[in-house]
Amino acid sequence: MLPRDLKAEQFAGYPPQARNLVVAHLDALQQLPLSFLPSLLREVIDYDFKFPAERNAIDIELANLSSLSPAQASDWFQAFSQFSLSPALEHFDWVNQPAQFVEQLSAYLWTTHQLDGFRKAALVYGDRLHSVVPPDAIPVRRLGIAVIGQGVTTYDAQLFRNLRPHGAYFAHVKPDNGLQLLLNAVAARAKAHPVPYGHWYIDGGQQADHDPSLTCVSYQALEPVRAALLRKIQADLQRPGMGPEELRTHLARLVPADLGMDEAGDAVLSRFQIKLLTEASGTQIFSTTFAQWAAREALRRAQSLTLLVRFAPRQRQKPMNELLSNSQGNVELDLTGSLVDADMGAYYNWLNQQRLQVADQSAFLVWFEGHSQALVIGPSIPRGTESTTAADLGELIALAAT
């Protein structure tokens, strides 16, 4: 089936808000090429469980598509119309399984050497969309915080190497009560600028006490979910015909209740957490990977205004089969390796924050937990500098906010 053949009743399986949205924009969707539309539907089908920022982005994109005349739509999607697709893709149930279609499309584009062209077309489309839709103002300067090195007593190598050129390094930080000062600061921002899913606290270990105004995700709290997921994976692998693609498809269909999550909880956040574990690599077994990926997704999807990420020690590398079978035994921690992971993770947090709007006004702070080293990035902070000023974490946050 091709997009021009779309009918409203074909979306009966969509959740209510998603269905209404698609039907309202059906005329526009019928104009789109098959190489493009399922990617959009992949987002729309989860509309009911998306963060406000994501919903807003979908609304804007659909409104823009509906505003295009046929000639304009042809111009916008000319590049996408050039890609040749296989009959198998055309016959795929891409209305109800858009994510699976996109996976198969991706494999097909790689195989037929069309991926680079597709990638270029997607970038051009994204830039064009952003150019016609000015970004919304944000109520407060974005702030990212990374706390790294929990449990490490000494570390001689240089920290924050990737971030130093972009901010000021402080070598005489007063570490006392540091985490609490940071949590207080982010809670104050959440109360002053109450935005749903706008202010986050992600912990790679056990979450500390925090203000309920913060959206919180922690590796420790998801341990039962991770265990349930690994059991499901092990069971799936025993089934005949189960290959990597089939397994990925199966994981993508899991919903919170499948893994024992409370159905009465926050459905949007529960879906978010499930996807952290089912769509990513390494988040199921390494807490440092979990914290970094969770931060990436909170920034990309929720466009958080405040994001405090505390990395915790991950387990020492063990064989993947043993880890995935969740076998019992003493869990050894790799403190220094986790610090190295988190140092890079902090850099990635900053990079991902800089991909959001008003990046030139955003601020960032990374602190070696319990120690005197930190680095601050902000619009008024001289880049590539070092400070000998003794300051506590509250003062550094205030500095970043100036």
Partner: protein, 396 residues
């Protein structure tokens, strides 16, 4: 409270300005290498290789290809901040090498299909996650058929079950029985530990792209019972040695050295894979993998010098199958994967050293991954007629 004025006099000059930082990152591998090792620019030299031609030399020549497993980026290897991770490449091997700074892979960036492409000289489109043979003849088939070499003269040592079909294609007029013998050391270990209670599981992970899944074997792979007859290695000794190595690549290198000692193949292909732990997202483990692979490459070259069958007549090629995603591409997650198809994930390098190769020279003109097989053909005297690449003139 810190005021902005408190910066005055308290900040000292930084390690680099953003402009300096950007300029540094924009430097080419050639510049990095020239700065680090003082080696010469290839274009300033004659393009002809000193390779000695002739039937006698060709007959005795040995070639070892090592894929620098899993792919590593410049910032963790050849860029100034990464050079600490490759001391052996940088200070021991590159000064002896012809180094090619731009090897572009325009194919599919999955390890099995990309390695198959390296081995056929054609950008293969086979399923990366299935145990299927390449669609085009491999370098091993060309080598054996054209030069009438026995199966003992071409071997592959590979990391995971998915590579068990890499030794030969299913191409008509080549195919089954014409290719290389394939050793999967982890598969051997699985068989060797069968029935024991010893914990060898730390070596049995199949691969890092799909850690949950291992395709079933079906092909010309080397079986446990042949270990004693061919490698002169008892199962007990193999098990015991496995307990002394820290990674699958170390086990692969152990098997490769046994092959060199017992079979002395003229064409030996070793696929390393430890670096691909990066898929788990732990940066420190990725760095450990790079450092281990760097060390193993140097150990292999030292072993070549000590083996009578190899010393003085061996050419070693070291190249990644591809790179990894750039930090700057929002579609990826930096070092973790190789999914975006961005230039960082497609552009890599190759070094050649040993018999017939000019030492300490850097060539920065672009070449394709598929150029390797035609180059090997020109060097060893066989005709890879279906390969798409072109021989690298600086090596022939």
């Amino acid at each position: 409270m810190i005021s902005e004025s408190s910066f005055n006099g308290k900040f000292k000059a930084g390690v680099s300005t953003p402009q300096e930082f950007a300029r540094r990152l924009s430097c080419t591998r050639r510049d990095f290498l020239r700065g680090a090792t003082g080696i010469a620019l290839g274009s300033a030299l004659s393009s002809a290789s000193p390779f000695v031609r002739g039937a006698t030399a060709t007959k005795r020549r040995k070639v070892i290809v090592v894929t620098f497993g899993g792919g590593a980026r410049d910032q963790e290897t050849f860029a100034p901040e990464g050079q600490e991770n490759i001391p052996h490449l940088l200070h021991e091997l590159i000064p002896q090498s012809s180094f090619f700074t731009q090897v572009v892979n325009q194919g599919i960036l999955g390890h099995y299909v990309a390695t198959a492409s390296l081995a056929t000289g054609v950008y293969e489109t086979i399923n990366n996650f299935s145990a299927v043979p390449p669609e085009h003849p491999t370098v091993f088939e060309y080598f054996r058929k054209d030069l009438r070499r026995p199966s003992s003269d071409a071997w592959v040592v590979a990391p995971s079950n998915g590579f068990n079909r890499i030794g030969e294609s299913d191409y008509r007029s080549y195919g089954p029985g014409m290719g290389a013998r394939v050793v999967l050391p982890k598969h051997l270990l699985t068989a060797a530990m069968s029935g024991t209670t010893t914990d060898y599981e730390h070596l049995l992970r199949d691969n890092y792209e799909t850690p949950l899944y291992a395709p079933q074997l079906a092909g010309n792979e080397f079986e446990l019972e042949q270990m004693e007859t061919i490698l002169k290695l008892s199962v007990d000794d193999f098990r015991a040695h496995a307990l002394t190595v820290s990674s699958p690549d170390e086990l692969s290198m152990f098997i490769a050295r046994r092959l060199m000692q017992q079979e002395a193949p003229s064409l030996l292909w070793i696929t390393m894979h430890d670096i691909d732990i990066a898929h788990a997202g732990a940066y420190s483990l990725y760095i450990e993998g790079i450092r281990r692979t760097d060390r193993l490459c140097a150990e292999l070259w030292k072993a070549v010098q000590t083996e009578p069958e190899y010393a003085g007549n061996t050419t070693l090629f070291v190249l990644p199958d591809f790179g990894r995603d750039s930090d700057q591409d929002a579609g990826g997650n930096g070092f973790q994967h190789h999914r975006t198809g961005d230039p960082a994930s497609r552009t890599t390098w190759m070094m050649a050293l040993g018999a017939g190769v000019r030492q300490g020279v850097v060539y920065d003109q672009p070449m394709q991954s598929t150029d390797l097989v035609p180059t090997l053909g020109a060097m060893m005297g066989f005709s890879p007629s279906l390969a798409q690449g072109r021989p690298i003139k600086e090596l022939i």
